[in-house]
């Protein structure tokens, strides 16, 4: 099984690319469905690097910081050529 961790500029770009690579298939009846051989698509979205925290008075202690870009994880039974696959050191998402 192939697992791809994908980095995009935004969600729109991600959906366009995933349809182009037949990870998603668009159907009249059901909208976007998994393409042939796709076992899972996980919309990770924005990844928080630093959480926003507050003191007891509600004053912000640390600012919310996101990692650059928008993220999807894809599980596929066949290989797909992605140019935007990444290998995170500390993945925020895994498969069971």
């Amino acid at each position: 099984m192939n697992i791809y961790k994908l980095h995009y500029t935004n969600k729109e770009e991600a959906i366009i690319d995933l349809i182009a690579k037949e990870v998603y298939t668009q159907t009249k009846e059901d909208g976007l469905v998994f393409g042939q051989g796709i076992k899972a698509i996980v919309d990770i979205g924005l990844i928080v690097l630093t959480e926003q925290t507050f003191d007891e008075e509600g004053e912000e202690l640390t600012e919310l910081v996101y990692a650059d870009g928008y993220h999807f994880d894809v599980m596929s039974e066949h290989e797909i050529e992605f140019t935007n696959a990444i290998v995170p050191n500390n993945p925020k998402h895994t498969f069971a």
């Binding site: 059901d30 042939q36 899972a40 990770i44 039974e77 498969f95 069971a96």
Partner: protein, 528 residues
């Protein structure tokens, strides 16, 4: 009485990797095996025959309460547990306020601190503000007293110590997130080690500490085979105010349903409240749970459920986000009655609590089976069960399909059980419709004839229902719980049906999502 040519379940289940055993019986009572294919490219959990949560490997079908008459095949959609520490409530992912997490003190292991009574000036490293003398560790300013390389990162420890004298400033245990302490007294807390070092840090602290103890501790008995001592106790402190713990922040999408669930057992307290944060859920939706009687209490907008699992209750609460935000949060709030208002304040006694295990947050309108996490969000993949029977099993010109099923939800998506030749041209299906209380029947013949009919009932999809579909030229009928709810005189020519799928005829999509106690297929209509 006709004999089914295919039975799936009905109190007799057997699974192995990639296969679920179905069967037929001949007139003499002899069993013949008929395999179906199962897949799920991830591990998953189910409820075993003892009522405990247990995990299975990839591609193994899950049968809740297997070897019991109420055994049922569990088929679920892909889902992600967004809680990144589903069991380790001592982890700093969980914020505690007016409360602490405690393990089972009776399981405390060996003492990790060699010189906790400070009888000699040995073992500890010290900044210049700390001295050891007179049987205590004494601070006259800001600095740290420490000992490295004695704990195992990721394990849970019970820390206790005394402040034996106090003049000014504060002292804290920085690796455990322990609140700075400002008075003479005995203190204890439980935490998960993120560092191998034991340390006490003074901030302008003029005072002494003594009787330091650090011992590994286990949780309490949980409803899980895989984490038998994985439950921890949420204990109120003695303050007057709120007593709760909360998740880390997560992102919400406006209009999406979120379901939080956890296994909770009464301790000295009988009630618990789940709250979705006000920033993203219409001012903060809440639901109360009565852990003494296994009953739902007061709630605001949303759907709450309580279900017995071992001696715990699986409590769940579903609410719709009204904003796209990074400030989603769930609070587990200690309350004093089933009708307590949201965010109740009261004076705690310092000892009373409830037992917690297995927290889960999903972007779904219902809770699914438990997905353990420890450090990241985790996804369980879609269950698939297809290709039961062969061309000799099914009669293409007449028959009865009888199923006893319970959907995971009432409405949502179209969820089919189909018999076909693997194409949409020769198929018969029963479907739980995407519309609440609606069911659907479909027949499509090789002659091009198509019957595709939605019909409403008073029967929700998410309770146990027995459904019989009869098909014969000019004689179509459906009974739900022995009451005929639909008939049609549709004529059709269907050929070569050779498989039963829990989903569409081609094996992909519209997967059946729910529990299946049995499927019986009869090759004629006498059993309708």
């Amino acid at each position: 009485m006709a004999i089914p040519s295919l039975i799936i379940g009905g109190g007799k289940w057997a699974t192995k990797k990639d296969k679920l055993l179905a069967y037929k019986q001949n007139i003499g009572g002899r069993y013949f095996a008929i395999n179906g294919d199962t897949s799920r490219n991830s591990t998953a959990t189910f409820t075993n025959q003892n009522g405990l949560i247990e995990s299975v490997g990839n591609n193994v079908a899950r049968v809740d309460f297997k070897d019991d008459v109420k055994g049922s095949l569990l088929l679920e959609t892909q889902s992600t547990n967004l809680i990144t520490q589903s069991e380790s409530f001592v982890n700093s992912y969980w914020t505690k306020s007016g409360a602490s997490i405690q393990g089972d003190p009776s399981t405390a292991g060996v003492e990790e601190v060699v010189n906790g009574d400070f009888a000699t000036d040995t073992w500890w490293g010290k900044d210049t503000s700390w001295t050891i003398s007179g049987g205590s560790a004494n601070s006259n300013g800001s600095g740290t007293m420490y000992k490295g390389s004695i704990l195992t990162i990721g394990k849970t420890y019970l820390v206790s110590f005394d402040i034996s004298s106090y003049t000014s400033g504060s002292v804290s245990y920085p690796n455990g997130g322990f609140t700075p302490t400002l008075a003479v007294g005995s203190y204890s807390f439980t935490y998960m080690a993120s560092s191998a070092t034991v340390s006490f840090s003074g901030v302008s602290f003029i005072g002494s500490i003594d009787n330091v103890s650090v011992k590994e501790v286990q949780g309490f008995a949980s409803p899980s085979v895989d984490s038998p001592t994985g439950a921890f106790k949420l204990v109120e402190d003695t303050s007057t105010g709120a007593h709760y713990m909360s998740t880390g922040f997560y992102s919400t999408t406006n209009g999406s349903d979120y379901t939080f669930s956890a296994f909770v057992k009464k301790g000295e307290n009988n009630f618990i409240q789940f709250i979705f944060s006000g920033a993203t859920y219409d001012g903060g939706n809440y639901a109360n749970f009565d852990l003494l009687n296994g009953a739902l209490g007061s709630s605001s907008i949303g759907v709450s459920k309580i279900e017995s699992i071992g001696d715990f209750y699986k409590c769940s609460f579903t609410s719709t986000a009204i904003a796209t935000s990074s400030a989603g949060q769930v609070f587990i709030w200690k309350i004093q009655s089933a009708t307590s208002s949201k965010t109740e304040s009261y004076t705690g006694d310092g000892t009373s609590g409830v037992y917690m295990f297995g927290a889960q947050l999903e972007v779904l309108p219902y809770a699914t089976s438990y997905i353990p996490t420890s450090g990241s969000a985790v996804t369980r993949v879609q269950d698939v069960a297809n290709s039961f029977g062969d061309v000799n099993t099914f009669n293409s010109s007449e028959g009865v399909i009888e199923i006893k099923v319970k959907g995971l939800s009432n409405g949502g998506t179209s969820r089919k059980i189909s018999i076909s030749d693997g194409t949409g041209d020769n198929r018969i299906f029963i479907s739980m419709s995407s519309t609440v209380d609606y069911w659907q029947i479909g027949l499509e013949g090789s002659d091009g004839g198509l019957l595709n009919q939605n019909f409403t009932t008073t029967t929700p999809q998410d309770v146990w229902n027995t459904i019989k579909l009869k098909y014969k030229n000019g004689d179509i009928g459906i009974k739900i719980n022995d009451i005929e709810v639909y008939t049609n005189n549709f004529n059709f020519i269907i050929q070569s049906m050779d498989r039963l799928n829990f989903g569409k005829a081609n094996g992909t999509g519209n997967y059946f999502l729910g529990e299946v106690q049995y499927v019986k297929y009869y090759p004629n209509i006498t059993n309708y």
